[in-house]
């Protein structure tokens, strides 16, 4: 699969190290439909290609948005791109969040840091059909108040769509009057029914490990917990083996995994 040219329609700096690219096909073609949780391989010409989740609304005009945190060679180069520049895109790839299959349940979304980006399309999809779900609770942890992504939308969703949003930061600065502490501490008291809830979890792996423990302690079943895993990727189509995770490939069998299917390898040092 060769990368298709996409033009940057908009560049938005979200926080000091995180930005969103809004991409439209440069050749007039319609971008493929995608499901919440899927990712694209984004190619910065002459630099390299990285997997980045799609963070736009799956129901809105066929745009790809990618919210990316600058960490290394490719993402730093991506940060220097401007409106009108062209990138290559392959995708969408990977497994989605089980948005449709969770109808009738409470939904608990636990996000850490940039982990909110792959969950945003799921949030859009849930509120697009708000009446099909019970409570929708978002528990979101970031480093500091300045690192909170999508602030305007969080406020709007809370106000208009009966979404319960609890944000906590590791470090309080300035006039922050909200929660301080790690996101896992929000789980014991969050308002959802553990016996009829489905949990979507995305964040650093250590955070996900402790999140799963807390969810299980609350009584959420293993087969109702979904995690989005990250591994380095190359082909993204299940051939090269770069993203091997135990007996699975993250690009093909993931990135979204049902926890009971990876429980015996999750958190193992050598995997």
């Amino acid at each position: 699969m060769i990368p298709q040219p996409f033009r940057i329609r908009q560049f938005r700096q979200e926080t000091h190290d995180t930005f969103t690219l809004e991409l439209e096909p440069a050749n007039g073609a319609a971008p493929a439909a995608f499901q919440p949780g899927q990712f694209n391989m984004v190619y910065v010409f002459g630099v390299g290609e990285v997997p980045i989740s799609i963070s736009s609304n799956p129901a809105s005009p066929r745009l790809f948005m990618h919210t990316t945190r600058e960490v290394g060679t490719v993402t730093k180069a991506m940060r220097r791109l401007k409106k009108g520049d062209i990138v290559g895109v392959r995708g969408p790839f990977g497994t989605p969040w089980p948005v449709e299959d969770s109808a009738g349940s409470d939904i608990v979304i636990v996000a850490g840091g940039i982990g909110l980006a792959p969950l945003r399309p799921a949030l859009y999809a849930l509120i697009n059909n708000r009446d099909r779900y019970g409570r929708i609770v978002l528990l979101y942890g970031t480093r500091s108040p300045n690192d909170i992504l999508y602030q305007k939308e969080l406020k709007q969703w809370r106000a208009e769509f009966d979404l319960e949003v609890y944000v906590t930061v590791d470090r309080a600065i300035g006039s922050w009057r909200g929660n301080v502490g790690v996101v896992t501490q929000l789980i014991p008291k969050a308002p959802f029914d553990p016996l009829s809830s489905v949990a979507f979890v995305c964040g650093p792996e250590v955070m996900m490990r402790f999140t799963v423990q807390e969810l299980q302690r609350r009584g959420v079943a293993e087969d109702k917990i979904y995690l989005s895993m990250e591994r380095n990727m190359k082909c993204a189509t299940g051939f090269c083996g770069h993203c091997q995770y135990g007996p699975t490939f993250v690009c093909k069998n993931g990135p979204v995994f049902r926890f009971d299917r990876i429980a015996d390898i999750f958190g193992k040092r050598e995997i």
């Binding site: 840091g113 590791d170 790690v182 008291k189 250590v206 402790f210």
Partner: protein
């Protein structure tokens, strides 16, 4: 009006605590209210009680010269505030400040220490619960120290 034993029995911290222990605890407990901004206790002061928060939010802070008050964690309804009353020299290690109107039950530490000395079953029950809270907070602090979202993985 609910009596103190009923209030205590409904607190998550004392869930499934044998009734006779709850009655004993009720003898050392009183309802307290703190206004927004009011200090509940301050570092260095004698730690003579602990609190079960029923309403509102509390910031646990440490004061650093030139940086001011740094919030380490926030606690809310259902949380336990303070365990220095159990550990010599019984002095608060942090400041605790109500950031909203706080209603809580205060348990008199001196009274409890006395009761735990004579009633070891009660002492064990209480310590078991408190150590679980301390372990959870320690785990949370360790995760906070990892700076999970800030630094590259």
């Amino acid at each position: 009006m609910e009596n103190m034993s009923e209030i205590l029995a409904g607190e998550p911290f004392l869930q499934n605590m044998p009734r006779q222990h709850v009655e004993t605890l009720a003898g050392c407990a009183q309802n307290v209210v703190f206004q927004p901004g009011q200090f509940i206790f301050r570092e260095g002061q004698p730690a003579n009680e602990f609190f079960l928060i029923r309403h509102g939010r509390v910031a646990v802070e440490i004061y650093a010269p030139a940086r001011g008050a740094i919030v380490i964690e926030t606690l809310g309804p259902g949380d336990v505030l303070g365990w220095s009353w159990m550990v010599a020299p019984y002095q608060w290690r942090f400041d605790a400040r109500a950031t909203e109107l706080v209603r809580a039950v205060a348990l008199d530490g001196q009274c409890l220490r006395g009761k735990c000395e004579t009633n070891h079953e009660l002492g064990y029950e209480l310590l078991r619960r408190l150590s679980s809270v301390v372990a959870q907070r320690l785990q949370a602090t360790r995760l906070q120290l990892l700076d999970l979202y800030g630094a590259a993985k």
